[in-house]
């Protein structure tokens, strides 16, 4: 049943699943628990993922809160050293593998990719459901490791500490990570196949929205890098459980081998976290500036180049590890080279605003915040790519601040932006713009408040993973910890107003942002098979205006027609 654009046509029934008589959406196709847990609908799997990663986000966030409270004073007075070590390990493991890596791909990607290319579902719907179950099983192992007493190796599992010296639940956690890796491989394979095989008529490669390109690039990295992580985890288990001397130097093993394997995955993993964010931001900025993306093709190639060079820079994590100076120089060079495509993207987002008709909706505030934080995060990456400066900053709070700017300021901002942008499509409800904008601003300030002082701490030499620290570092730590409280409050805000909108929010029209993109041509929320009539694509992505016409014109015409 094709509905009219505009909320005026709806009844104002409240409640999560309230619907018009006869209306059928993916949400109303079965309301039992079974209908959710056995669903192969990519939209429902996206919701399953969204619920699970939200839970892990708050567990990881709680650990971060305790860490920051502990660092309020120089003495280790809140928790013991062992507890502290378990907390930052837990924070890292959960945030990386159970929140950031699946965050955008498994929720927004799962929900939107088939809709954006005009497909009924992903290429392998059952594999898609399996990937969620793998994620849940892996999550159970990791939570078990946590409840039994935790893991104290740091998320990096450096050998020989993790294999020979740690007295904690390394095996359980390593097995959890091994399994969760297969969940991302499954998602990756699914997305690659979906983009290749299921594009609707007229959806050529160069007409794909940048979000689809970002999912494609991310999937390539997931499929190629994650097996190496799995291998590294198997080797850890082999040494720890079976005593096979792989990393043990006493038996001729090489502890550095582990670092190479680990970073061969974990550096590309940074791009698994940031590429999807770039895709989301491109969609939001183009729509809210009512403008075609500046340099669409450059944006596509920049993402592919990032995905490829991302595999060749892992050694910049090892400048002080004792690797050969020659290797360090090559890795430094490639790390500088990868800055170029990232810079292209920042300039092109800025260029997209030029001569636009800009609206400052909540998603746009998140997206603009992303651009600022990502730029600063990227620029501080240049510091760490310079060998002499990295020697000084390596393993200090400067590194902590740098990657939080990329992963939290970047990826999490974009995830929140995307969540707001597509919320009406996913849930069929509108959230409160006022609350959402305040939360976006609040989070931006809270984030900088928390993490900017850490750059200074790092330059001053404060090492990371320190439970206690010399008193001269206290002033910056107090600032950071205060900021963390602000940030924590900020992260709770969406939980309330988005939650409220589910039950009492106004009904969303099919295309509340007047956005292009096939996902907006179907109903909000979409029907079970996405489209009632399968769409045909006749234009490039982001046709917010004709090439020879100013942006905003199309909106005026639309408004005229409506009036």
């Amino acid at each position: 049943m094709k509905r009219d654009d505009g909320a005026t046509m709806r009844s104002d029934d409240t409640g999560l699943l309230a619907r018009e008589p006869g209306e059928r959406t993916y949400l109303t196709e079965g309301t039992t628990l079974r209908s959710w847990l056995l669903s192969t609908d990519h939209k429902r799997i996206a919701i399953l993922y969204a619920v699970s990663i939200t839970m892990f986000f708050f567990i990881g966030g709680a650990a971060a809160t305790v860490i920051r409270l502990e660092l309020f004073t120089p003495k280790g007075d809140l928790v013991t050293a062992d507890t502290y070590n378990r907390l930052f390990t837990l924070h890292g493991v959960i945030m990386v593998w159970f929140f950031l890596v699946p965050s955008i791909p498994a929720t927004l990607g799962n929900f939107l990719l088939p809709l954006m290319i005009g497909a009924k579902d992903v290429a392998f719907p059952r594999l898609n459901l399996m990937s969620w179950y793998l994620y849940v099983i892996a999550g159970c192992f990791t939570l078990a490791a946590l409840l039994l007493g935790g893991v104290d190796t740091g998320w990096t599992f450096y050998t020989p500490f993790s294999t020979l010296y740690s007295n904690s639940y390394v095996l359980l956690a390593a097995f959890g990570i091994f399994v969760v890796g297969f969940s991302s491989i499954a998602t990756g394979i699914n997305f690659i196949a979906t983009v290749h095989l299921l594009r609707t008529k007229g959806m050529t490669w160069m007409r794909l929205p940048l979000f689809c390109w970002s999912m494609y690039a991310t999937s390539l990295v997931m499929v190629l890098a994650t097996p190496v992580l799995a291998m590294a985890m198997v080797l850890i288990c082999a040494e720890r459980l079976l005593g096979l001397p792989i990393f043990d130097p006493r038996a001729g093993g090489d502890p550095l081998l582990f670092q190479h394997l680990f970073w061969f995955y974990s550096h590309p993993a940074v791009y698994i976290m940031i590429l999807p964010a770039m895709g989301v931001v491109s969609e939001i900025i183009a729509c809210e500036a009512r403008r075609r993306v500046f340099g669409y093709q450059f944006m596509v190639y920049a993402m592919l180049v990032i995905a490829v060079i991302g595999f060749l820079v892992w050694g910049h994590h090892m400048f002080v590890s004792g690797q050969s100076p020659f290797a360090s120089m090559i890795f430094s060079f490639l790390s500088f080279v990868i800055a170029v495509p990232s810079a292209i993207k920042v300039f092109n987002w800025t260029g997209t605003l030029y001569r636009g008709t800009i609206r400052f909706s909540a998603p746009m505030l998140y997206a603009l915040g992303f651009v600022g934080l990502f730029t600063l995060g990227g620029l501080t990456g240049l510091f760490l790519a310079s060998i002499p400066v990295d020697v000084h900053l390596s393993d200090t709070y400067f590194v902590v601040a740098h990657f939080h700017y990329i992963m939290v300021g970047g990826s999490v901002s974009a995830f929140f932006g995307g969540l707001h942008f597509w919320w009406p499509k996913i849930t069929g409800r509108l959230y409160s713009e006022t609350f959402a904008r305040s939360a976006a601003l609040w989070l931006f300030f809270g984030f900088n408040f928390t993490f900017f002082p850490q750059f200074i701490l790092g330059y001053l030499g404060m090492p990371r993973r320190y439970h206690e620290y010399p008193p001269e570092f206290q002033v910056w730590n107090v600032m950071s910890s205060t900021g963390a409280v602000v940030l924590a409050v900020g992260y709770l805000m969406p939980l309330f107003y988005l939650g409220y909108s589910l039950f009492y929010g106004e009904r969303a029209p099919d295309n509340p942002h007047q956005a292009t993109g096939l996902e907006w041509t179907t109903t909000s929320p979409p029907p079970k098979h996405n489209f009632l009539v399968f769409p045909v694509v006749r234009t490039e992505a982001y046709a917010y205006h004709d090439w020879d016409e100013a942006p905003g014109k199309a909106d005026e015409t639309m408004q005229d027609e409506r009036a």
Partner: protein, 309 residues
Amino acid sequence: MLESASTIAPSVDRIFWVLVGLSVVIMTVVGTLVLSFAIKYRAGTKAYRGPLPDWMSREVEIGWTVATLFVALFVFWWAVSAQLPHFLLPKRALEIHIVAKQWMWKAQHPEGVREIDALHIPQGVPVRLEMTSQDVIHSFGVPAFRIKQDVLPGRYTATWFEATKAGDYHLFCTEYCGTDHARMTGTITVMPPESYATWLAAQPHGEDLAGEGAQLFTKFGCSGCHGAGARVPAPPLAGLYDRPVTLADGSTVTADEDYLRTSILRPEAQVVAGYPSVMPSYQGVASEEQVVAMVAYIKALEQGRSEAR
């Protein structure tokens, strides 16, 4: 403010602050553009919004890509050329041996003076640190010197510095190493050379490192094969240090500290050509500190000295 107390610190700081300047410039450019576009082109203003001219979407794009690439390559070249002298360890330097373990730093001066979680060094003299770990990976980081080097089990890693300012500086373990990682800290005391000499003389001396090694060489029975007049065929050690050695598999290695260390702990790993692999392993018999002393002894053996053939 962070002290700058070594010869390399000013050049690290120079790169750091230029990068800060570059970041400020780029953040300002991006920030100004975003903000001014946001204001000028916000919905409802009467700003001109015609189509973009062709040159803007091609030349501008290529222009800023190339500009970014050049800036990146320049910073790379500058940073690497600043680092090159630090990659090369000075030959004539005060050689301090560091053995790290959970959770303490042990330092040995060549004269045999030992310190724990502390290191006294003279100002204005290049100091070379030869380091190894008894258990997990640690890292020797001194922010005031802008140096940091991971300390690995099973091999020697080295770094060097020349302190320029007397004073006490933090030593941090900067690679996570377990429970008391945050307490694996120490103090580096830089003293004028005269005060250093006085300090050194006042410390309880044992044998110097090589002398201690000589005693261990006898105690562990090494001299039975490698010593003068031994009947078992064992490769001669005199003048061995820093020379090329041909191995049984035909390859050649340099007899550096790492080679000597490996040959003591895992003799079967690199067998010298022409000799049977009969030497027992000293893994678990000799401690890291004892190995350090024996390596110092072998290094001190001159060609033709009587202790070894």
